[in-house]
Every structure is written in structure tokens, then in C-alpha cells.
């Protein structure tokens, strides 16, 4: 029912470009994650969709209707803030009822809708509580309920779980994903945590310096990152710089067949795709440390020139006492000038 269109949107703050000609369409009922390090412009973009910032250029449209200059109170968007931003002088019920009262709904209708949405977020019967009587997770659920009760066309989430502990964060993101899918509400979600993005999103937008690096579904993003930045930002990735010459990539300690033109290149290998073989040769990689996680182990390796990389091995015991190893990547990609040049 609701489609969000962001067309050529830029935002310039006095001297810095926070968002640079950004284009994105979020389909009906889709959950899209904006993922990037802090300062990548993802929150600014979200605030422009919510109406809290005005784009310097470009158009924001909801269901084809241009809302670029519409103030937040007249937009069909609902925002959940990182700091939950509950009104501490009102109890839970009043927090939820405030927006409905502004819409002049009858009292029994307000009561019915507030109760229903509290039930939805698992806080049935909490209406009379003061906001400071709630735990961090409950407060964030109330904040979500406060947005949902108005049935917005677009739900905006600005790092809603950032202030919660790991365990609670995992539980809440499952709940939020469930609720979002049950209601079929179009959602834009900002986070700097890759786990959050990978586990919740239909599509992930990786941002860097106000620009899109890649837009893709989570599994695709993990397996086929288009740039070295995405490769290193999603999951763990060994990015090895070296030189290609005559179809051979080389760096001290590593040689690979790489059928691209001669010149510098960056090889990207996931730890789980980097097989290692015990070796006694002098120019192979030295084993620096082995960390045993039980089900698998991570081997930290050091190339002769001091460059560090990681490989996953199934059993740590097989490697005890081993000094050096030869690298044999099972699958890798090569980048040149920020784009994919080769994928095995």
C-alpha cells in the first residue's frame, strides 16, 4: 500500500555533504536497512524521510506524493528514536494516546486502539505505568507502540536498539521483524550493526560518506560484495593487497592464479573460505595465534611482510604446535579501483 521513493536527495550542512545524490525505492511492506559507519549519512537520510531535515536537493515521495517540504506532523511516517524519547511526564497510556487525541478520536476508540497495540508489543496492561518504571527494552517497545498506534504508512527506526544489551537486542529485533511482517508495514531502518541488518532486512543499503556502496539482499551482500568497503564492513574479510603479473597475483607468502590484466589488485577472502595447509617452507605464513571456539577455531596468520589475516579451521587440536602454513583460498574475489575485477 505504501511505497517510499527517494530521488536524487542531497543534504549539505554548511560545509559537509552528509548525503550525496541518494536514490532508493522501498517497496510496499519491505524492510530496508541503512547500514554504515557513523557519519555515513544514514541518520540524516532517515530524518529527511521523517521531515526533521529538509533536503538541499531532490525529492522524497510517499505513494507518489511529493512530501519533500511537508513538516513531520503532516507526514504519514512514524519514527522510533534511538533514545526512545518517551514523554516522561505522561504514563504509557497517555504517551500512546497523545497522537490519537490530536486526531480528535473518541475516547473509547482511543482506549481500544491503545490497548490493542500494547497487546501487540507484549505490554498488555502496562498502560498505567510511568515510563521510568519500565526497563530499557519495555521503553523501546512503548516507543514502537507509540508510532504503530497511528498506523503510519512508513515506519522509521533510528538505531532503536543501540542502547540495549546484546541479549535484549537480539530478542527485540526478532519481535520487531515479526510485528513488521504481520502488519506488512513499509519500514526504513538505520543501524551501524551488521548483525541487525543481516538478520532483519529484506534489502540492505550499505552507505559510506553519504553515498550508496551497494544495495542488495543480506545473503547476496555477504557473498558478493561489490566493493572492498562492503566486503570488509559485512562480516570478517581478509583484504590482501598485491600485484598481478602474467595472470598471477603475488604478495610475499601468497601466490594465486588471477586471470586479469597486470597491475595492482586487492584479493578478498573470507576466513571460512581460506584453507590452510601445514608447511615448512620459509616464505609461508607464520601462525601467530589460534583461538578455539569449540565448534571451530580461528587461526591468526602473519605473512612474511607482517600483514595479518584470519582463517577458520574445523579443529584447533590439529594445529597445536604447528609453526607455519601455506594459504589456499577456496573462493575469493579480486577488486581493482573499487570494483569487482574477478570472482572465483
Amino acid at each position: 500500500m505504501a511505497v517510499l521513493d527517494i530521488k536524487d536527495v542531497s543534504k549539505v550542512f554548511s560545509t559537509t555533504v552528509a548525503v550525496d545524490r541518494f536514490n532508493l525505492t522501498v517497496g510496499d511492506g519491505e524492510l530496508v536497512c541503512l547500514l554504515g559507519p557513523s557519519g555515513s549519512g544514514k541518520s540524516t537520510l532517515l530524518r529527511m524521510v521523517g521531515g526533521f531535515e529538509t533536503p538541499s536537493a531532490g525529492v522524497v515521495a510517499i505513494d507518489g506524493e511529493d512530501v519533500t517540504r511537508v513538516p513531520p506532523e503532516k507526514r504519514p511516517t512514524g519514527m522510533v528514536f534511538q533514545s526512545h524519547a518517551l514523554w516522561t511526564h505522561m504514563n504509557v497510556f497517555k504517551n500512546l494516546a497523545f497522537g490519537l487525541k490530536l486526531r480528535r478520536l473518541p475516547a473509547d476508540e482511543i482506549k481500544r486502539r491503545v490497548d490493542a497495540v500494547l497487546e501487540l508489543v507484549g505490554l498488555g496492561g502496562f498502560g498505567h505505568r510511568a515510563t521510568n518504571q519500565l526497563s530499557g527494552g519495555q521503553q523501546q517497545r512503548v516507543a514502537l507502540a507509540r508510532s504503530l498506534v497511528l498506523e503510519p504508512k512508513i515506519l522509521l527506526l533510528d538505531e532503536p536498539f543501540a542502547s540495549l544489551d546484546q541479549h535484549l537486542r537480539e530478542r527485540l529485533r526478532e519481535e520487531v521483524r515479526d510485528i513488521q511482517q504481520r502488519l506488512g508495514i513499509t519500514t526504513l531502518f538505520v543501524t551501524h550493526g551488521q548483525d541487525e541488518a543481516l538478520s532483519m532486512a529484506d534489502r540492505i543499503v550499505v552507505m559510506r560518506d553519504g553515498k550508496i556502496e551497494q544495495v542488495a539482499p543480506p545473503d547476496f551482500l555477504y557473498r558478493q560484495p561489490q566493493t572492498p568497503f562492503v566486503a570488509s564492513f559485512i562480516g570478517t574479510m581478509n583484504l590482501i593487497e598485491g600485484v598481478v603479473s602474467g595472470g598471477q597475483f603475488s604478495r610475499p607468502g601468497l601466490k594465486l592464479p588471477l586471470p586479469i590484466a597486470d597491475g595492482p589488485a586487492t584479493v578478498a577472502v573470507r576466513p571460512e573460505a581460506l584453507a590452510i595447509v601445514k608447511s615448512g617452507e620459509p616464505d609461508s605464513a607464520r601462525i601467530h595465534r589460534i583461538t578455539d571456539y569449540g565448534a571451530h577455531a580461528i587461526v591468526d596468520l602473519e605473512l612474511p611482510d607482517g600483514f595479518r589475516l584470519k582463517a577458520t579451521v574445523p579443529d584447533a587440536r590439529e594445529w597445536s604446535g604447528v609453526q607455519a602454513a601455506t594459504l589456499a583460498p577456496r573462493a575469493f574475489a579480486a577488486y581493482r579501483e573499487n570494483v569487482v575485477a574477478y570472482r572465483s
Partner: protein
């Protein structure tokens, strides 16, 4: 070990401080109060020869006392309301908006308190004389308004600044206009601290003497002004003492209110703590 940890030590230094402070503050009050309920007290007796409420009756029977009470309450109320009307929107502007000359203007409110007050008052009195404001109610209102500006701007500015911006944005998000956000979110959030400022300015105005005397006398007589003239002109101490005890009431009431505000921590927040 556990016993040692929970054992309460007698804090003699604390008790000493409390005792000295109590003597300094309570003793003069006690003397004044005793004078107000004394009928006869002649040297060299340490306690009055005769207690009684004769001078209470005599003081409360005087028309000028009642008119001064009414005058003081009316003045303090009008000044506080006007001050709130002028200062609160200004404080909000200082807290939330950026405009040229903001910080200079902000610190200019200190100016009224940075110089000897009496000199300033005399200069203002000269201007008021030309404007025919000397001896008028509104002349006194104006002069007392100046005295409240510092409290009523600086404390509410801090109060507004401490209101979480995200709370205001969340209210916009659910459909509230900027004016509605101010009324329903910002003002209640800053409320306790602003109440403290209003209280301070009410009490401050109630006890303000120099301005009221210089601009208002002799037509406008507030309670403190009347008390001074009692002490200066009456050979009988008790009139002044009774009026002084009467003057305690508003500050006592204010203190009771302030306790609630202070204990909630918002008073301290008002001063940027």
C-alpha cells in the same frame, strides 16, 4: 568486621557546623519573635517581664498595615506574572534559537546585578521622574520587574535547554504543531524548574525594598517599606517585630514549595547541575 562497617560514627564536625549555623540563623529570629509577643521587656531582664499579644492586636488594627499587605501581594503577583509573560518566551528563544547578538543580549541580563544596585536605582529614578512614574504603582512594577529578569531568564533557559530535543521531535512526529509541542511537551518537562524560578521571583519581589522605597514612597508602601519606617520612626520595637514576623509567612510558604522542587532535582538542573 560486619559490625565495624555498619557502626555509626558520631560526626562531631557536622554537628558543630549545624550548631553554629543554627545559632547564627535561629537566634536572631528567636529574638524578633520574642519581641513580637512581648508586652513589657525592660533592661536588665533576660526574658520579658510580660508576654502577650497586645502589639499583635495593635499592629493588625492599623489600616496602613493591611493596605501594605495587600499592596505587597498585588505587586509581587503582578510583577511575577508580567515577568513570566515577558521572560518565558524570551528564555525559550535563547534556549532554542540562534540569532545575532544572542550571547551579548543573554549576558546583558547580568548587568543589572553586576553593579551597585542603589546607583542604578537613582539613575532610573531620575528618568522615572520625567516620565511621571515616581510614586505610582506601575513605576514600582517596572523597577521590580528589572530585578526579576535574571532569575526568570537564566533559570528557564537552562530548563528549556535540558528538555530532550528528541522528545519534541517525537511529538511533532505523531502530529503535534510546534505550538502544541511547546504547550504539551516542552513546558511540562521544564515545569518544575520554571516553577522554582517563578517562586524565586515572587519572593524576591515581595521582599524587594530599595526600589519600592525610592520609586514608590510615600504613596506606594509595601510591607518591607512600612517595616523600615516603623523601625525608624517608632520608639516601640514591637511594631517592627510583629511586621517582621508577618513577613516570614511568604518565604515560609515558598520554602515548603521549594522543598518539593529541590528534592526532585529539577531545581539543581535549573542551575545547570
Amino acid at each position: 568486621m560486619a559490625r565495624l562497617l555498619v557502626e555509626k560514627r558520631t560526626d562531631w564536625v557536622g554537628i558543630g557546623f549545624a550548631a553554629v549555623l543554627s545559632i547564627i540563623i535561629v537566634f536572631p529570629l528567636l529574638v524578633v519573635f520574642t519581641w513580637s509577643v512581648t508586652n513589657v521587656w525592660r533592661y536588665p531582664s533576660v526574658i520579658p517581664q510580660e508576654f502577650g499579644l497586645r502589639f499583635w492586636q495593635a499592629t493588625l488594627a492599623r489600616a496602613d498595615v493591611w493596605s501594605s499587605i495587600t499592596m505587597s501581594l498585588t505587586l509581587a503577583t503582578v510583577v511575577t506574572l508580567l515577568s513570566a509573560l515577558i521572560c518565558l518566551p524570551a528564555a525559550y528563544a535563547f534556549a532554542r534559537l540562534d540569532f545575532p547578538g544572542r550571547s551579548i543580549l543573554f549576558f546583558s541580563f547580568l548587568a543589572g546585578h553586576a553593579f551597585p544596585k542603589f546607583g542604578l536605582l537613582v539613575a532610573i529614578a531620575a528618568i522615572f521622574l520625567q516620565l511621571n512614574l515616581i510614586g505610582t504603582f506601575w513605576g514600582v512594577v517596572l523597577i521590580q520587574l528589572v530585578g526579576t529578569l535574571l532569575f526568570m531568564i537564566w533559570i528557564p533557559v537552562a530548563a528549556f535547554q535540558s528538555v530532550d530535543r528528541r522528545m519534541e521531535e517525537a511529538a511533532r512526529d505523531v502530529g503535534a504543531s510546534p505550538a502544541r509541542v511547546f504547550w504539551s511537551i516542552t513546558l511540562p518537562q521544564a515545569g518544575p524548574t520554571i516553577a522554582a524560578a517563578v517562586l524565586l521571583s515572587f519572593v524576591g519581589t515581595f521582599y524587594e525594598t530599595e526600589g519600592a522605597w525610592l520609586i514608590g514612597a510615600p504613596q506606594i508602601r509595601t510591607m518591607p517599606v512600612l517595616m523600615i519606617s516603623f523601625i525608624n520612626n517608632q520608639p516601640v520595637i514591637q511594631y517592627g517585630a510583629v511586621l517582621s514576623v508577618l513577613l516570614w509567612i511568604p518565604s515560609f510558604v515558598a520554602l515548603l514549595f521549594a522543598r518539593r522542587v529541590i528534592s526532585s532535582g529539577s531545581f539543581a538542573r535549573g542551575f545547570g547541575a
